[in-house]
Symmetry: C2
Subunit: 895 residues, 2 copies
């Protein structure tokens, strides 16, 4: 570490760093330097680099050689610039010590203000400020903050209040006053003593008077706070690597609490909620920064703009000159950074100081408006606008949401499986959901877990709540596919199917009671909460038009019904990448024929039952093809194991038996014989198509007849027939022969020649490994990353809930591989599959149709591999489009 | 095809082919050529090459251009050599037309003899042979054979007898005689007419008189027979590629049935059953070849050697001169081929003709004796001896077998999961097996399928029979591991647990009834059949000593108990490659503590229960280490999901509840909560070790304490601790830290420093793909090809029984990938894992411990990859050793 620069000075219009140095100066430090260079008034100071944090962590809290001396030199520079001295009795320099990581982690790490105060320097502060009350208030705040943050004087037990606050409260009670501001100088002086005594008694240590000791204590505390539990959790949640470390900014204190000509405030250069171009913010007169955030005093608006409380006087009115300066500065900053800024400022005795600027966080809606406006203002170009929008965040926009102003009684929390808000009466069975919905009622389906048998009920419901299952459980996957609000894995609720109720602690929710779900937050809320519908503004359309100009990947939708197909088109899907035919099998009118087929003892019986399904399935295909006129539709032949279509419980089997006039034992025996140890690895996919060729034959006939009938009507139909779960080319070869035969027969019958392609899912490791062989028979590959992830990891997504959350918590695994595509493992097989497939068939069409197709980082991966398309749930199509454009623009969204 | 040579002549001491040309001449043709070149008397003829068969199959039964003319020329050559003419009335040439593939497929394809006979040429035969009866008998046989084989006159329905035989029987009845030989010339003449009439009536075609038409009919029939069902099935069973095709040999007929100076016979140059060096065979006077095989007359021995019926006169006695010639010839042949020969000969009027020689099939026992003897005789070298033994066949030698001379009533057939024979009383539960065995009874455990709960019962039984499951089902894998006779997937038996019986058709077998199992054949036999124990002769030891000189791979055993370890050592295992610790958990004295552990609500409770298991597990390890003194022992930490240790049925749960004095509901709830959709992909392997660190901690402590205690006693203990189911290096890293900590603690306590290594299974695709990362932490890799095959194929071996047999039958898949390692898919990942692992840690120890470790072709693959060892069930250790040596010798066993 020797020889490396560890400390960067800023002040007096010149800084050693700049905005490009966030890695080593942190966001705050880099921007302080940048502002300084822009001649923006910034209190002088210096930044200790993130390298030092890493060194500190790795060397048991020791610093690199020479750091102490360099800090001393930099303090001297400040002293010279400000004409003050650290520890001086007459003109004492006070500083703040703040953390500042590469990415802002608001409130996560510690800060110490007013450092440098002691019984000597306090005199100078009194003298300089001519305000004894301010001085002693600062002193007692400093002791309180330092005692907590650096010396570690915390409440001793969970329930105990902060011991400093206890003393403060006692003092106020004794004085009979309500607010801190009502305490006088003597009270504050007593508090200083009492706080120091508290520290001595509780910690057995004396509060340090030496400012240097104070400084090094604070620096150590801030570095240590990088490793506190809150910070670690925050980093995990926001995917911030541990090794980045934090920088520390040591900066001259300026005071917004020096009297009525002083103030402090925060502002956004545009409205962070709507994106409107108004200067938006709050301030307090005679206050320090923390007062604005703390909420003990109501902050005043900066101006009389929108969305601000106009009953309080604004900065514009109270300090018109300062306001004018601030406006000039914020414009300069926005123009310089070419992005909406989140700024902090302090006015000390009429002099405006900027304490921070950074790109402001914003809602999805605001991000779109700001991006479009800035393009129109000429501030940024279209590419930058596209890169500015967080694709992950876009989801907010596309679903109804809970009115943020509404009161809500959250009774339980689960996993936010599928966003949006839903209100309805609780039902516990899919059948009940269907029958109540048919009566025009809105219902929420509550199940321990869902299975394919519940699909009709899920369709009929407003939202789905399950007690078990992870982010990729059946309920979650199907819910997202339907764009239906869904909360899963809500272990707190105990469902009693027999009594038709669930409980959470003392609360009992019965069938028919109304609840509200927030699928974006994973919240279960008692009663009805108002929701607001999304508005897809013209700005959204504009961004999406731009996006389509840049993206290379096509975006298709996973859609199983004509309705899904319609939604998908409205969100800009360029075809269907996955039409799962089994969902069509579950509709009430069909499941009977499907069961008849399964229960048939011979091929003849199966054929007879299949004949009943054929016209219905054909109608579905016709409707879907119509919606997708001119766009390709990839239809996957039957995939799930047959037992999914049969009832499992004895009572249901009995019902079916009497319905079908078959003996209970016969059906029971069939159900038993279809049971599998590992159904995911069992008799499903093309294995069904091979052992029961008549099933696929019927499906292909339905597809081809639908296509021919529509073609005759002048529609452009582009069917792509997809075989699931292939592990070896021989399977595909055999099925392809069958399929081609049926297609020829139908086309001959219709006297129509229609182009269609036959391809395969690549969803088993062996298929990817032998993709060269398979490509000889396949006209397209669609990577099925759900199953591929399961097999590559040897991990059943339905069962992973018992340990995967623990893995993520313990950082054994960075991200849930069912959510974000695992590039190292699964991705490597995809890469292999792509390469081998292209070797044999260079023009092979390549797509991805797992859940990952709507996840931005996975979309980027697909773009990089040169796939032709991704396919995702209709509601995620815009996200995928945006992510595809961002990937094409060759870089990630800047921080 | 033009220009290519299709026909190869042999005869008169000179041939166009030789023994090296089996690919195009077939085995028989190549050897006829070779014998001819050796000046062995072979009736002249020619071979039509296998290319023609392939051409014929691919071109709808057409022949390559020019073939007809070439055949005509070759017939002329024979005519000239024999002084006979095809179709001639005076000296007619008769020929045989026989198939002959690259590898012998005995009885699978068709043959036509006496071709060339018609109402004209018969006169010449009568004249030449001076034996009208012989001539007409030949004629009627020819029509019968030709009518069947070439013209396709077969029984019309399954039950009908052969229509020619019906006529023959009728004739005999009318004449009041018993044997064909009792019919006189007139009878035979009538039969000729009646046969021709039958053909005319049944087929509407006239029997062809033209010898050329006869010849081409026969050639076409033989080529067509390559594609008959029997032949296809045979090829599938013996892994013979379809495209090889068969050659056809057209050869001058010689007659062993020309009177008492004629004879025909077959012989082996050594005893094919024992390998003893005696000339061994049978013959019949005045007979054709088929009579020897048909069993209608009892053949006579060649000499007064061993194992032959000495009540009949031998060839040595009957035809001493011919016998002398035959002895001279067989010695010449064996010396030339340097292998035991299987020969066919015919004596026509005192003249000896050799019709065939080929390497003789032999039992495993014989192959070993012959190989060793031939080395000692200086006929072959040691390498050749090693390559001569079929490693797959060796299994026969290592288990008791059913006495081949015993009568047996086979009542059902299942899959031959684990070889050997077993006799015992039928029991239906593992507990009963244990308690009867404790009373000294021999039992056969009969289950619908087995689970880990049954292991103690499997141990206690002589053999295991299941109604469900494939070659790699639980019963099969565990059975093989224990070296215990096992028949699985015997769908014919219907088990009724309640009534304690099973039925097969009309037969009912009750609890307590005795049955016999033949695990090598998959047979279930009623009653007790005598068995014979294997004798591992000195020759076996000798071969194994030679094998060890050449093999590069080490061979270890999968052994879970001290007994297994002992057996493994006796079979030459060089350590243990897989010691599964879970089997130790199932023993009656332990399962209780294991269940207590699982049912504990907190870590403390689990620790307490684990403390009870620790001393028992330690004792096991001590015993195993002792058996393996000086050899490495790889111990796999707990792998199966916890639910396997809990009862599943309500009645069993109730029992457990009362035993443990816990409420039924509590245990039931735990059982329910542990249920998984896909347990194979669930909460098992290192996922358990990570979520319940106390389990692995206990196991590691048991291992290390055992090792230290033994080391103190002077034993050399080499423990290798293996983590299962790793998909990411982070898992291994975390567990390794825990393990090292425990190991250090124990070693410090014992004041002993002991070398041990920590490694991982590579049994998930992701582990293989990221083997470079994993190798950074792993000191060894053990490829777990059972699970790797399951995940690479997305195929649960327990569920594959519903479709995998169909796949194999339909040739979608060549070999069961759970039996023979799939080089293309699974093998590719292993190759990748090996390469990536070595990149990072060149000295990494590499092994394989799946079922494949004892399968010769898979062993060869491991050798080729340069792995350090394979590990397999103790009983397959000699097979693996032999296969390893054969692989090292760089070539497959010659045909």
């Amino acid at each position: 570490m020797t020889g490396k620069k560890h400390v960067y000075f800023f002040g007096g219009g010149e800084a050693e760093g700049n905005a490009g140095m966030k890695d080593i100066l942190g966001g705050k430090g880099a921007n302080l330097a940048e502002m300084t260079n822009l001649a923006i008034p910034v209190p002088p100071g210096f930044t200790i680099s993130t390298d030092v944090c890493t060194y500190y962590d790795e060397n048991n809290g020791n610093y690199p050689e020479g750091l102490e001396e360099t800090v001393r030199e930099n303090i001297q520079k400040i002293e010279n610039m400000m004409g003050k001295r650290f520890g001086d009795m007459e003109a004492p320099l006070l500083v703040s010590v703040r953390s500042g990581a590469r990415i802002s982690m608001p409130g996560m790490m510690d800060t110490v203000l007013n450092l440098g105060l002691n019984d000597d320097t306090i005199k100078g502060v009194v003298e300089q400020s001519q305000n004894e009350r301010f001085a002693y208030d600062s002193y007692r705040r400093f002791i309180q903050m330092y005692g907590d943050v650096v010396m570690g004087l915390k409440p001793e037990s969970q329930g105990e209040e902060d011991p400093f606050e206890l003393i403060l409260d006692k003092k106020k009670r004794m004085k009979g006053v309500k607010f801190d501001t009502d305490l006088d100088v003597d009270d504050l002086k007593e508090l200083v003593l009492e706080f120091k005594t508290l520290i001595k008694e509780r910690l057995g240590k004396v509060f340090p008077d030496d400012p240097w000791e104070q400084l090094w204590g604070a620096i150590g505390a801030v570095f240590t706070s990088w490793e506190n539990q809150r910070a670690i959790t925050y980093r995990k949640l926001h995917n911030i690597p541990d090794h980045w470390g934090t920088a520390i900014n040591v900066q001259t204190m300026v005071f917004g609490n020096m009297g009525d000509d002083s103030a402090t405030g925060v502002a956004f250069t545009r409205d962070p909620s709507t994106g409107e171009k108004i200067f938006y913010g709050e301030f307090l007169v005679n206050a320090q920064g923390e007062d604005v955030v703390a909420g003990t005093r109501t902050p005043q608006p900066l101006n009389k703009g929108h969305n601000t409380d106009t009953t309080l006087p604004s900065l514009e009115e109270v300090m018109p000159k300062t306001y004018g300066e601030l406006v000039e500065l914020y414009k300069r900053l926005e123009e310089h950074y070419r992005d909406m800024q989140d700024i902090e400022f302090t006015v000390e005795r009429g002099r405006l100081w900027m304490l921070q600027t950074r790109n402001g966080k914003r809602t999805s809606r605001a991000s779109i408006k700001i991006a479009v406006d800035m393009v129109e203002e000429g501030l940024i170009d279209v590419k930058t606008a596209i890169l500015r929008i967080d694709a992950n965040q876009l989801d907010q926009l596309l679903h109804p949401n809970i009115d943020p102003t509404a009161k809500k009684n959250v009774i339980a929390r689960g996993l936010p499986a599928s966003p949006g808000a839903a209100v309805g009466e609780v039902v516990f069975t899919a059948d009940e959901a269907v029958s109540l919905a048919a009566d025009g009622k809105k219902v929420i389906l509550v199940r321990i877990e869902t299975s394919p048998e519940d699909i009709h009920g899920m369709h009929a419901s407003q939202g789905i709540l399950t007690a078990r299952g992870g982010m990729t459980s059946h309920a979650a996957v199907v819910g997202r596919g339907m764009g239906k609000c869904c909360v899963v894995g809500c272990g707190e609720i105990k469902i009693d199917y027999r009594e038709e109720l669930f409980t959470v602690g003392d609360i009992t929710v019965k069938k028919g009671d109304t609840i509200t779900l927030d699928g974006g937050m994973g919240e279960v809320i008692q009663g009805k909460v108002p929701t607001i519908n999304p508005e897809l503004s013209g700005d959204f359309e504009k961004i999406m038009t731009w996006v389509d100009e840049y993206k290379k990947l096509k975006v298709r939708a996973n859609a199983d019904t004509p309705k899904d197909a319609r939604v998908a088109r409205s969100f800009g899907a360029e075809g269907i990448g996955l039409c799962r035919t089994e969902h069509m099998f579950f509709e009430e009118s069909r499941i009977r024929a499907v069961r008849e087929m399964i229960l048939s003892i011979d091929k003849e019986g199966r054929r007879k039952a299949l004949e009943k399904i054929l016209p219905m399935q054909k109608e579905d295909f016709k409707e879907i093809f119509k919606e997708m006129d001119g766009f390709p539709v990839t239809i996957r032949l039957l995939d799930p194991p047959l037992h999914e279509f049969l009832p499992q419980k004895d009572s249901d089997i009995e019902e079916l038996a009497s319905e079908m006039s078959k003996p209970f034992e016969m059906i029971k025996e069939k159900v038993e014989s279809l049971k599998e140890f590992n159904p995911m690895l069992g008799h499903r996919g093309c294995r069904l198509g091979i052992t029961y060729p008549e099933i696929y034959e019927m499906q292909v006939r339905a597809i081809m007849e639908a296509a021919c009938e529509l073609a005759r009507e002048g529609h452009k139909v582009i069917p792509e027939i997809m075989i699931p779960l292939v592990f070896m080319v021989s399977e595909l070869k055999l099925l392809k022969e069958h399929i081609c035969k049926v297609c020829s027969e139908v086309q001959d019958r219709f006297k129509i020649s229609l182009e269609y392609t036959i391809g395969t899912m690549i969803e088993l490791p062996r298929a990817a490994i032998t993709a060269d062989k398979i490509a000889a028979e396949a006209e397209f590959f669609s990577f099925g990353t759900n199953d591929l992830t399961q097999t590559v990891y040897g991990l059943s997504r339905d069962d992973s809930g018992n340990f995967l959350p623990y893995y993520i918590e313990k950082k054994l695994i960075e991200k849930d591989p069912f959510v974000v595509l695992d590039r190292e493992g699964v991705g490597e097989l995809i890469r292999m599959g792509v390469q081998k497939g292209r070797e044999v068939r260079p023009e092979i069409k390549l797509g991805l149709c797992g859940e990952h197709g709507g996840e931005p980082s996975s979309v980027e991966f697909c773009h990089n591999l040169g796939l032709h398309y991704v396919s995702c749930s209709p509601y995620r199509v815009p996200i995928a489009r945006l992510a595809a454009a961002q990937a094409a623009l060759g870089e990630k969204k800047p921080d």
